[in-house]
């Protein structure tokens, strides 16, 4: 028997680590991975509450979040590859114009 609060606290800690990654790292790939970590932390809270309330809705929502994350990564990585092809550099500090 583990209190559900422990799971939610763990989820909050993982979310904060992801947010710190987005704010402090300069490599767009690591920023992307941090976003995945934050989505994952939210999924953990969803599954924990779904388990407490004995419903499948939370698990199904996690299923959708995983699908959306897969779509997001496919488009995002294609964008990063395109930016690298035009700028020869993917440092996030140098992406300051919309024009390629």
């Amino acid at each position: 028997m583990v209190p559900v609060n422990y799971y939610v606290v763990l989820s909050a800690i993982l979310f904060v680590i992801g947010a710190l990654g987005v704010l402090s790292r300069r490599n767009p790939l690591i920023i992307f991975m941090s976003i995945e970590l934050m989505l994952n932390a939210a999924n953990l809270a969803f599954v924990a509450f779904a388990s407490v309330y004995e419903t499948f809705s939370g698990q199904i929502f996690v299923f959708f979040v995983i699908a959306v994350a897969a779509a997001e990564v496919a488009v995002g990585l294609a964008l990063i590859v395109e930016i690298f092809k035009t700028k020869k550099n993917i440092n996030i500090d140098e992406m300051n114009s919309l024009k390629g």
């Binding site: 993982l14 991975m33 809705s57 779509a71 990063i80």
Partner: protein, 173 residues
């Protein structure tokens, strides 16, 4: 202290350590591998919470497909480590300060204000049979049919987007 709590604490230590390893690795390949370990740990949490289908989907989709895509792009671009820049020198300390504040207030509210009576019961063997999977599938294809179809359109659009983004560049050459 029950055995379940010990398993939870050890696993959460591993999860937090791998997340921090992802954050502080200088090499992006190491970051990706730490993140794979983190996803596998979270999949074990899902098993503990009685969600075997989500656990397996987590391993195949996240740890399998998405992270392989990440590793592929990191190695394709040669972006293992970027030279540090000092465009915004005040940003990193500010980000750390704000993250610590966010963590402290989130943990404070969750541990003091939230209802602590709700317990996660350990999954019994019946949850791991086909019956629970069938129940979940019935819920997915009855109450959540429209979101399911919308997700399929979203995946199609993302696939087309990725193809078109890389195709235009080839025509321009």
């Amino acid at each position: 202290m029950s055995s379940e709590l010990i398993v939870f604490l050890v696993l959460s230590l591993v999860a937090i350590a791998t997340a921090l390893g992802m954050l502080f690795s200088q090499n992006a390949v190491y970051s990706a591998l730490f993140l794979v370990l983190n996803f596998v740990t979270v999949a074990i949490f899902y098993l503990l919470l009685g969600a075997p289908f989500i656990a397996m989907a987590q391993i195949t989709v996240y740890a399998g497909a998405i992270m392989v895509l990440f590793l592929f792009v990191i190695m394709l671009l040669g972006a293992e480590s970027l030279a540090p820049t000092n465009t915004l020198p005040w940003q990193k300390p500010l980000a750390r300060l704000l993250s610590v504040i966010l963590a402290v207030e989130a943990i404070y509210i969750l541990l003091t204000k939230a209802n602590s009576n709700m317990m996660v019961t350990s999954p019994d063997a019946s949850l791991n049979t086909m019956e629970s999977l069938r129940e979940m599938a019935v819920t997915l294809f009855s109450s959540f049919l429209l979101p399911f179809e919308v997700t399929s359109i979203l995946l199609l659009v993302a696939m087309m987007g990725a193809i078109i983004l890389t195709r235009q560049e080839r025509e321009a050459k």
